[in-house]
């Protein structure tokens, strides 16, 4: 019972953390790694640092030209 509640709490916390990170344009790194390993096993996987920089450049880069925030 206690264990289950703790598990539940951890799950909620990780969701909140994920939400906070996605709010500033950084998706889940573990999901990215799992995706690369499952679908492109022979290709290199970015380290977390590379991944973070890539996401930062995408969010604020001019290439997309998109406005990712509102007034």
């Amino acid at each position: 019972m206690h264990e289950a509640a703790l598990h539940e709490f951890k799950a909620i916390f990780s969701r909140l953390k994920q939400t906070g990170r996605l709010m500033v344009g950084v998706p889940c790194y573990d999901t990215y790694v799992a995706h690369r390993l499952a679908n492109h096993p022979d290709e290199p996987v970015m380290t977390y640092e590379e991944f973070f920089r890539d996401r930062q450049d995408t969010r604020y880069g001019v290439k997309g030209g998109g406005m990712n925030r509102c007034c």
Partner: protein
């Protein structure tokens, strides 16, 4: 059994709503508690979400949970990622919530709390949330393409170019008006100026931290940054109490405007990781935290509304913005009820991450309902203030004078009793020299928030802290928007000029970047400076222009939605988008027309220009101008504003024509002509992926 419990639940919600509105209606003339407004808003949102959004999802759009979304088909772990719906809800809400829903309702409070509340609730249910939801849906069915792209492919190349030109104009006015809000909040306020200036080195330190010291540790960085921001507020007080230091950080509106223009230029050519990104992280978390804090504060403190339900200014003679309730209420509160800007967000990153089509309802419709709560809270924060105080803060100096005595006398003559002592005391409570004529919404909201939050934590002693916290929080995310928006403007200008001068298109060319950035900054800087020197306070002139443009963008997005519904052969339900489109067109075209041609110089740009031209011809100088040059400048600015307003009208009218042409073409064709992607093939692919996933599990 469960069904009947559910039915009972919905009956209870409806009863609660009826009771809340009944209470508000029966207690006219007495003060009522803000909680009644909150109850009414929550019930409206619940009912709208449960019934109207379900109708749109099932019957109008016919969301197909088996159809593969772009996130599933293009899953790359980066841009296209199937994301948990609550996580994505948070992402989308954080992207649409900004300064807009906080400022508009504060300005509209001059009409009393009831008109604003009703428009926010009706507007969000039938226009705002509908727009966000349907744009998200159609973008999701087109690989997450942007609004401009979709207008091009569904309504034609020319329509796409016109719409993008319209968006560029809106961006320019948006940046000018937001920067003006910051200038109004910081002028002659050493505490506020010091705190906000301190955010630049703090953000840069955090930028270096996440880039080199502890790459990508957003959480740590944000905590350290937050502590530094609180320290900045603390030191701001010390600065404001020391005469020499206070003088160093006391700036006039003009100086601040030029500083922000310079800042906008420098910030938008710096690498993103140094200033923009860390500041964005801090402001995003601060924004969400403050919204939550304000909500808890209202629930906990349960303040009474001091503003009358409907004030005498519904006749259009109000000091905060000029013009009658119709149409100006409906453009003053844009974000919060319906915001065209959201159509850019709903066709941005969100559609690329939706896991299942079904979830578009929660993310599109639900987030917008949440945003309407933000607007309602802002309205409450403005209405818990003594009305006399509210008008002292929001009326231009040319009306109420510059001393507490003059202001108190003028405002009391309007029927809102206030004494000079109350004005001086409130200024002292929040740690400012004066609170007169601080238009722009932010300071009023900050005093309202300080009023509510100090009721929860800290009492009167903390009031000055809460006030500057609120100012900091608004300035922080407005300056982030100025930086990011200038970059977007630059890109649009490069794209536009690139058609004529190919070298301008190169985003890697330093020269092209600098030229386009300078053009972008000059464009919004011009309107900002004009707003700062405007005798009516600037907000009076610029906010309606911004509101008109934002609502026109919403009309354009809803026209696109209508065209798509006709192409899908769902014209039976097209009223869902046509009714809000029609309403927005009526409001914005009327407002646009009045801003151009209204005989009252306080409303019409041309009659204002005429008044000054006549005076000039007669050889007299009208206040606030002191010289002939200033007279000429005022006349010139009036014509610039008039041209801009005319351009907005032209853009939206041409979109109506293109929309009608596209609908006629769709009706003439017996087949479905919409250009969706990822139908049956997508579904098969998704089924394969799902079965593979099941095997893995």
């Amino acid at each position: 059994m469960t069904r009947s419990i559910q039915t009972l639940g919905w009956i209870a919600v409806t009863l609660a709503l009826t009771f809340a509105f009944g209470w508000i209606a029966l207690n006219r003339g007495e003060t009522i508690n803000a909680l009644w407004i909150v109850v009414a808003a929550v019930c409206v949102a619940l009912l709208a979400y449960r019934f109207y959004s379900l109708f749109i999802a099932r019957t109008v759009l016919q969301l197909d949970p088996r159809r593969a979304t772009p996130a599933v088909r293009y899953n790359d772990g980066l841009d296209y990622v199937p994301t948990n719906k609550y996580v994505l809800f948070g992402h989308h809400f954080a992207a649409i919530a900004g300064a807009g829903p906080l400022v508009g309702p504060v300005l509209a409070a001059q009409l009393g709390y009831l008109p604003g509340t009703l428009w926010i609730l009706v507007g969000v249910v039938f226009a705002g949330a509908v727009q966000d939801f349907i744009v998200l849906f159609i973008s999701m069915r087109r690989d997450g393409r942007s609004l401009g792209d979709m207008i091009r492919s569904e309504m034609g190349q020319v329509a796409g170019v016109i719409a993008m030109f319209g968006v560029l104009l809106i961006m320019i006015i948006l940046l000018a008006v937001l920067a003006l809000v910051v200038v109004k909040a910081l002028a002659h306020s050493p505490w506020g100026s010091f705190t906000v200036f301190a955010t630049i080195p703090i953000a840069m330190l955090m930028g270096v931290y996440t880039r080199y010291l502890r790459p990508g540790r957003i959480g740590e960085m944000s905590v350290i940054g937050f502590i530094a921001l609180i320290a900045a507020i603390y030191f701001g007080q010390i600065v404001s109490e020391n005469p020499t230091a206070a003088e160093m950080f006391t700036f006039s509106g003009e100086t601040l405007a030029l500083t922000i223009i310079g800042y906008g230029f420098v910030a938008s050519v710096l690498p993103v990781w140094l200033l923009l990104a860390p500041r964005d992280y801090l402001s995003t978390f601060l924004k969400i935290g403050t919204i939550l804090g304000l909500a808890l504060g209202i629930l906990f403190v349960m303040p009474d509304l001091q503003m009358p339900a409907v004030s005498r200014f519904v006749d259009g003679t109000g000091p905060v913005f000029s013009g009658a309730l119709f149409p100006f209420l409906f453009i003053t509160i844009a974000c919060g009820a319906v915001s065209g800007f959201h159509s850019l967000i709903a066709s941005g990153t969100t559609p690329k991450m939706v896991e299942n089509e079904d979830q578009a309802r929660l993310i599109g419709y639900g987030s917008m309902l949440m945003e309407s709560f933000v607007a309602i809270m802002a309205l409450i924060a403005a209405c818990v203030l003594e009305p006399g105080l509210y008008f002292a803060m929001n009326s231009p100096a040319s009306l109420i004078g510059t001393t507490p005595e003059q202001a108190a006398q003028v405002i009391s003559s309007w029927g809102f009793v206030i004494t000079p002592d109350m004005l001086t005391q409130t200024a002292a409570d929040v740690g400012e020299g004066t609170i007169l004529s601080r238009a722009g919404g932010a300071p009023t909201l900050a005093v309202g928030m300080a009023h509510i939050l100090s009721g929860a934590i800290g009492g009167k002693a903390m009031m000055a802290f809460w006030y500057h916290f609120a100012i900091l929080f608004e300035a922080l995310f407005i300056l982030t928007t100025v930086d990011a928006g200038t970059r977007v403007c630059r890109f649009m200008i490069q794209d536009l000029l690139g058609t004529f001068v190919p070298v301008m298109k190169r985003t890697d060319s330093w020269m092209a970047n600098v030229v386009a950035t300078a053009l972008a900054v000059t464009a919004w800087g011009y309107f900002l400076y004009q707003g700062v020197v405007d005798p009516l306070g600037g907000i009076n002139t610029l906010w309606p222009l911004f509101g008109i443009s934002n609502q026109m963008l919403a009309a354009i997005a809803l026209i696109l939605c209508t065209v798509v519904l006709f192409k899908m052969k769902r014209q039976r339900y097209a009223w869902v988008t046509m009714v809000p489109t029609a309403w927005l067109l009526i409001c914005t075209l009327t407002a646009g027309w009045q801003k151009l041609f209204h005989p009252n110089p306080a409303i019409g740009f041309l009659s204002h220009a005429g008044k000054f031209s006549d005076a000039l011809a007669a050889g007299t100088i009208l206040a606030p101008a002191k010289t002939v040059e200033e007279m000429n400048r005022i006349i010139f600015n009036d014509y610039v504003d008039a041209v801009l307003c005319g351009l907005f009208i032209a853009v939206v009218l041409s979109m109506v024509v293109y929309g009608i042409l596209a609908i006629r073409k769709a009706l003439a064709n017996p087949n479905v002509t919409t250009r969706e992607v990822g139908g049956d093939e997508g579904a098969r692919q998704a089924a394969r992926l799902a079965s593979r996933g099941a095997r893995h599990a």
